[in-house]
Amino acid sequence: MASSGNKNINSKLVLLGDSGAGKSSLVLRFVKGQFIEFQESTIGAAFFSQTVAVNDTTVKFEIWDTAGQERYHSLAPMYYRGAAAAVIVYDITNQESFERAKNWVRELQAQGNSNTVMALAGNKADLIDARKVPEEATQTYAQENGLFFMETSAKTATNVNELFYEIAKRLPRLQPAPNPSGMVLVDNQSPSERAASASCCS
């Protein structure tokens, strides 16, 4: 398995979270390396793709960036169905957005697909002075719920590539087999180096 050379896998990833939490901004940062102060509000969902290299495997994320307004909730299943990964985004300066993030976690957990890698992203980490959601408590919450948690900033790029890289690493198909034949995930390269070239389709 370890010596099988380069592998390519496609992974469906969905972003969920309150309107204005920064889902589109995170995707734009990850896919194009840009940040736009006034990002158009997303209607329905937008699609992007981007690849990440983990050791000898190239993970191509097929990303669905969904709309955040409450009433769009009824469209969400179409986007998260069959997703290998879900990033639930909230805004650290907005307590309400964190409450909604928890609802998303509950909803996804109730889908019963334990293979889905779930990440929680506390975005707008650059706005530290306006913080409303404490980091430690969230960390505890994340641990209790088996989520991978990071605070991010789409604006400053902090932890954005790292977030997607960590998700890629956790995909079941990249995990060592139960009886590993020598495959170890060595992390000797910085995550940002690994986020390979963009291949956006917008």
């Binding site: 496609n10 309107s19 204005g20 736009i36 006034f38 990002q39 158009e40 509000s41 209607i43 329905g44 969902a45 699609f47 793709s49 097929e62 669905w64 709309a67 307004q69 009433r71 769009y72 909730h73 009824s74 469209l75 299943p77 179409m78 986007y79 609802n103 509950r106 909803e107 957990q109 109730a110 389709c201 917008s202």
Partner: protein, 390 residues
């Protein structure tokens, strides 16, 4: 700000942007160079030289259409198209005018006549005439300081609605759009505010020039033209349209439908935005407005024709696609570059074939119970999930 006067938006002339006249002989070889320019409605467009040339041709066609409309006014009288609406008279001339008008509208209403023609043919004028003259002024001044979930979301979305547009993205543009959206959110509290309406209202403002007329166009659109509950609560109307559309795709484009289904590609993934923003986020502005010309005269079925056409135009390429990303790529590349409205509308109305409003209504009736049941079931499951956790 233009305060309480609710006068005309003075924007058109200023930014009736000039599309650069390029000399094709020199530039043709560099057709893959992208240029940025402003279109007829002030939107920044990125395209190659071919796109610019297409847009120049479109402008010429728009001018020609203008001449056709003016000469009809000269021969038939200024408001000749209004007579086609009076259903009580079954005069031959009325019938003829009706057929002429339908054909004419599919070829496009000249931008200068759009406000007037839309306002009367859509039913907006009639709607407005049933309330006191001061309705809009009273409504907007009564609610301007109120804070509701809808107004909060509206305020959040104002700078996120076509950011960078030379008029919309100014304090005056924001304030005007806000009055229209907030006003409507109080007129119909079931709708309140739904994201997507910001784009629709913004484009209506650019066309209608007067905010009050834009407001009435929005009202007639939501209350009479589109499917019920398109923007309310759980978007049930939008779910209905998606299902109707899938059925139509199977009927009208069976090969594409079968291919996409085999790929497990749900067309709603791309169509939802079309039906909620009425193509305003996907198609170039003049093309969108040409779709709306038909929408306001023939009704919401026009949206199905156009959506089907976008798939139909790409049939061969879509049949060769095997990844979701490729399908979306094909669709987006097409929609973003549809600078020639006739290219789209010819397919939509000549090649797709005839669909009556009655057929569509029947289809909707058929789908409605299933949609409501599904949404209801989902809601109950969600509630029980959240209950369990407490």
């Amino acid at each position: 700000m233009y305060g309480g006067t609710h006068g005309k938006i003075d924007l058109a002339i200023e930014y009736q942007a000039q599309i650069p006249i390029l000399r094709p002989s020199i530039r043709a070889r560099r057709a893959n160079i992208t240029v940025k320019f402003q279109d007829l409605y002030g939107f920044t467009v990125e395209g190659n030289v071919d796109d610019v040339n297409v847009l120049n041709e479109v402008r010429e066609k728009v001018r020609e259409q203008g001449r056709v409309w003016w000469s009809l006014e000269a021969s038939k009288g200024v408001n000749w198209y209004l007579q086609t609406q009076s259903s009580t008279t079954l005069k031959f001339s009325v019938l003829v005018n009706g057929i002429t008008l339908k054909r004419l509208i599919r070829k496009g209403i000249p931008p200068s006549l759009r406000p007037k023609v839309w306002f009367s043919l859509s039913g907006a004028a009639k709607k407005k005439s049933t309330v006191p003259e001061s309705y809009y002024k009273d409504l907007t001044s009564a609610v301007q300081d109120k804070v509701t979930p809808a107004t909060k979301q509206i305020d959040h979305d104002l700078p996120r609605t076509f950011p960078g547009h030379p008029w919309l993205d100014t304090p005056e543009g924001h304030a005007t759009l806000r009055r229209v959206l907030v006003g409507y959110s109080f007129r119909d509290s079931d709708v309140g505010y739904c994201q997507g309406l910001n784009y629709v209202a913004a484009l209506l403002l650019l066309v209608m020039k007067t905010e009050e007329d834009a407001f009435w166009m929005l009202a007639v659109l939501l209350e009479d033209v589109l499917v019920n509950d398109c923007y309310t609560n759980n978007l049930s109307g939008c779910h209905v349209e998606q299902r109707v559309f899938k059925d139509l795709l199977t009927k009208k484009c069976p090969r594409i439908a079968a291919h996409l289904e085999a790929m497990e590609f749900d067309v709603s993934l791309v169509c939802t935005e079309w039906f909620l923003c009425l193509f305003s986020k996907s198609l170039p502005s003049e093309t969108t407005l040409r779709v709306w010309d038909v929408l306001f005269y023939e009704g919401a079925k026009a949206l199905f024709n156009v959506a089907l056409a976008i798939f139909k135009m790409n049939e061969e390429e879509l049949l060769m696609a095997h990844h979701i990303g490729d399908v979306i790529n094909i669709i987006q590349r097409t929609t973003h570059h549809l600078f020639d409205p006739d290219e789209l509308l010819t397919v939509a109305f000549d090649k797709i074939g005839f669909m009556t409003t009655t057929t569509i209504s029947k289809e909707r009736k058929k789908q409605e119970p299933a949609v409501l049941a599904e949404l209801d079931q989902r809601l109950r499951r969600l509630n029980s999930v959240n209950e369990d956790d407490k």
